[in-house]
Symmetry: C2
Subunit: 338 residues, 2 copies
Amino acid sequence: MPTNRRIVLASRPQGAPTGDNFRLETSAVPEPGERQVLLQTLFLSLDPYMRGRMSDAPSYSAPVGIGEVMTGEVVGRVTASRAAGFSVGDLVAGRTGWQEWAVGDAKTVRKIAETGSPPSTALGVLGMPGMTAWAGLHNIGQPKAGETVVVAAASGPVGSLVGQIAKLRGARAVGVAGGADKCAYVVGELGFDACIDHRDPAMGERLAEACPQGIDVYFENVNGAVWDAVFPLLNPFARVPVCGLVANYNKTELPAGPDRTPLLFRATLTKRLRIQGFIVWDFASQEPDFLAEIAPLVKSGAIKHREDVSEGLERAPEAFIGMLKGRNFGKTLVHIAD
Amino acid sequence: MPTNRRIVLASRPQGAPTGDNFRLETSAVPEPGERQVLLQTLFLSLDPYMRGRMSDAPSYSAPVGIGEVMTGEVVGRVTASRAAGFSVGDLVAGRTGWQEWAVGDAKTVRKIAETGSPPSTALGVLGMPGMTAWAGLHNIGQPKAGETVVVAAASGPVGSLVGQIAKLRGARAVGVAGGADKCAYVVGELGFDACIDHRDPAMGERLAEACPQGIDVYFENVNGAVWDAVFPLLNPFARVPVCGLVANYNKTELPAGPDRTPLLFRATLTKRLRIQGFIVWDFASQEPDFLAEIAPLVKSGAIKHREDVSEGLERAPEAFIGMLKGRNFGKTLVHIAD
């Protein structure tokens, strides 16, 4: 009888997650019920939002329970189907978590779109991270020709597409990334106009130099020190789509005072800032528009992307912990089966 | 030869303005040049934004210089005209400041609209404060039927219209005001569903009770303790148009720590808040739409408003200082001539 390996949440992290927060378990491969499929996981996506699901603080989604399989989106192959519309061999995507085999409901699993690109892209540049970049700019950031767009984690799957879409719209793209290698990639390969190393103690000055006309769109996915550097450079009528706060996720207490909240409100008023949070699936109905624009550009190579692939489910916790520390270089994936 | 009396900025306030920051001066009545009119001030409008103009911190408008006439909008009567399109006797509005007589350029003075209501309303419910309420809700707040809208300074010219427009849109309107008299007026006369006294030490609990379905739109004009009470009650997808921060204007230092900025970002993300600053004249092109909807309702009495009128230019500093302390009850005006 084939066995399934899966990684469950063993305990909730205090601060940064450690290996002890995860446990590898073995169980029987499940059998699909009515209107379900059995799928073998090919790639597991690791994304920063999962840090939020490990905590039980109120958020937009329920937390993962202790002992439950870690949540996560995968691309898999259907190996048995009791659901109309799905056949053995179909490639599908679904939120079936950190495990090698899973049953998925016909309602929640979907065949991945024909994009002409490899299936793993359905988890990255053509999946949730790519759609996050596109939807945040389309609905909130709205960059215009000649404006300046700044994004952190610029070599990652969201940031890299934010900058490339900004360039498509005629805007100037300035990235922030960790280290010279990533910055060289962001400018040389992705075509950003500049990239600042957030490890540079003079990050604020470097960012100001790279944004001589100020900042019109700041795509917020990290907060922390990058926000502090961006804040004084925001132009009147700047837009700040907020889709992540990675720098804060592992913090266990608030920064020391004074309370700077009134400064944020003052700038919001005097500069007429628009600061707006969003979750990618708030804009799910726009996915066809996203794919129609971006998939051909990925296929042609006009839009570039990069994957950081670990081999084997057992490597998922280490890869996830490293990603939160910025050790990944590109979209973080775990390759589980061919 | 007739004389002009005017109030100039004598010094910049540290914290709350005092009488010493103002000086009453006498000068000759000016003569209009080409394309100018001479106007006699009938009513001077006093508004919280003027506190910002007394400081020289960067903002959306330049500060008033020391020794310059205090800025402010007036309604006046044309008494001499060298500008095409303006005749003696015309009622006009313009930003000619705290003085009894002024020349105005044809470009910056405008005839007040025919609204069927008294001229003073062009400074209040049908002027800048009313338009602030309407534009903030129309463009950012966007209240829908069944939602809950909260606004502070609810008996004032902006807040009173925010709540009444919310009711027109089918929303629940909850006000915050200072004292039992104002709260009774807000509910009994203006038709809000509830009004909380911000002097009540249990304001947060009272507000929660008055908003059993949470808050969908918070029209921010005060910040401070009212924001602290509102913040935990904001619903997912809540909108926060920010047009004023009266509670902060006189503060000379930031509140003690910790720095709560990360909490604001966290809520912005998890609740997908939209926090957006605006200045009424960002939406100047919408003024005809505003007047088309609101002027007939003011004329018919369906929309109520209240004026707090001081007599004589020399009373303007005292009235302004009192307004910043919440001592006004309705739109603060100074009556200068009939």
